[in-house]
């Protein structure tokens, strides 16, 4: 398709498409004339991914470039795929302040040990877990073992579902890991709040339409 059709079908304005081309986020089309290039479905797909990462996930152009480079990383072994997936998800917010990235995370370590999970202090979410537990402690709402078990089990149920859908192709797997991690977090959060509402109404014996 011509660039005009790409603009129309993607809904991304022409100046933005040209910007992504210049920045190397969108791969060039096939040159078919002095001022003409031909684009395919892969360009349309790529535009959708870039847009989701920038507009919905809130990544910067630099972060998007890093994620896209990871989708293009040749993956020769399961260990390499594991590393690429971790690096891709590590670009997502919340950003971990540099000072917290490579220090010990004692609360997170204890929690992960209790859950029987890997503790790798360099994995971005470990610092996030440390922060989350420290924040709860600071507020006086303690993280009991019973709560950790309940939350850990629920998180694992969701993660098992997510992993079952992981595409076998490494490039698609990276895309899915980044978009799926980021875009389904607000879903899980909203569903938790709505489950609170529903259970509270049932337990209190009220109907919101009263």
């Amino acid at each position: 398709m011509r660039i005009s059709e790409l603009v129309e079908r993607s809904g991304v304005p022409l100046p933005t498409v040209k910007f992504y081309l210049r920045e190397g986020l969108l791969m060039p089309g096939t040159v078919t004339g002095r001022t003409r290039a031909e684009y395919g479905e892969e360009h349309l797909h790529r535009l959708g991914v870039i847009r989701a990462l920038i507009e919905l996930v809130g990544l910067s152009v630099q972060q998007v470039r890093r994620v896209l480079a990871l989708t293009a990383t040749p993956v020769g072994s399961p260990l390499e795929l594991y590393g690429v997936l971790g690096a891709a998800v590590g670009t997502l917010p919340p950003e971990v302040p540099a000072g917290e990235a490579s220090v010990a995370h004692p609360r997170a370590r204890d929690a992960l040990e209790r859950l029987g999970q890997i503790y790798d202090p360099d994995y971005a979410a470990v610092a996030q877990l440390e922060r989350a537990i420290a924040a709860a402690e600071a507020s006086g709402v303690l993280l009991t073992d019973a709560r950790l078990d309940a939350y850990g089990r629920a998180a694992r149920d969701v993660a098992r579902f997510d992993l079952d859908q992981l595409p076998p192709d490494p490039a698609e797997a990276v895309e899915y890991a980044v978009l799926g991690t980021a875009l389904y977090e607000p879903l899980l959060i909203a569903l938790r709040r709505l489950a609170h509402q529903d259970l509270a109404a049932r337990r209190l014996g009220v109907s919101p339409s009263d």
Copy 2:
């Protein structure tokens, strides 16, 4: 205790304590002299709550005032308690743009119907659910019924645990609902990412210490 001890034990600086007193977020102490007042454990507790709401949850002074007013609302019936809890949790981010607050939320309605839960378009989290589903759709990572079921079940498991801990005293219940909703969200998010990591390592047969 004197105000100096309140400052020391709470870790909140004197000018900030005075600001909270002026703003009415912290209730006045008992006057014991021309320039003296006596503070108790309830002041220390209140300072911890204010601090958590502002520093950890990110609420504005106005939002904290609204939450604290709700903890002081006389609650005569379960329906009133249900309303107060909903209003308190409704002060939390993410803020719903005014234009989205009182419109129909067709995606959220369908999802909640499928889950067999209450659909109340005025409840803040409904607009959040609508946004989350729309964002996933826009990115091309569809929300399948199977995913909704898996996430809905996990959210409900967590919510059931949370509700089991709801304090019987209405003021404490409001505090717990607001702090517990906000402070345990990052925990659940971090645990999901770490469960992804752990499950990916197991399925790929790798050990991160390799």
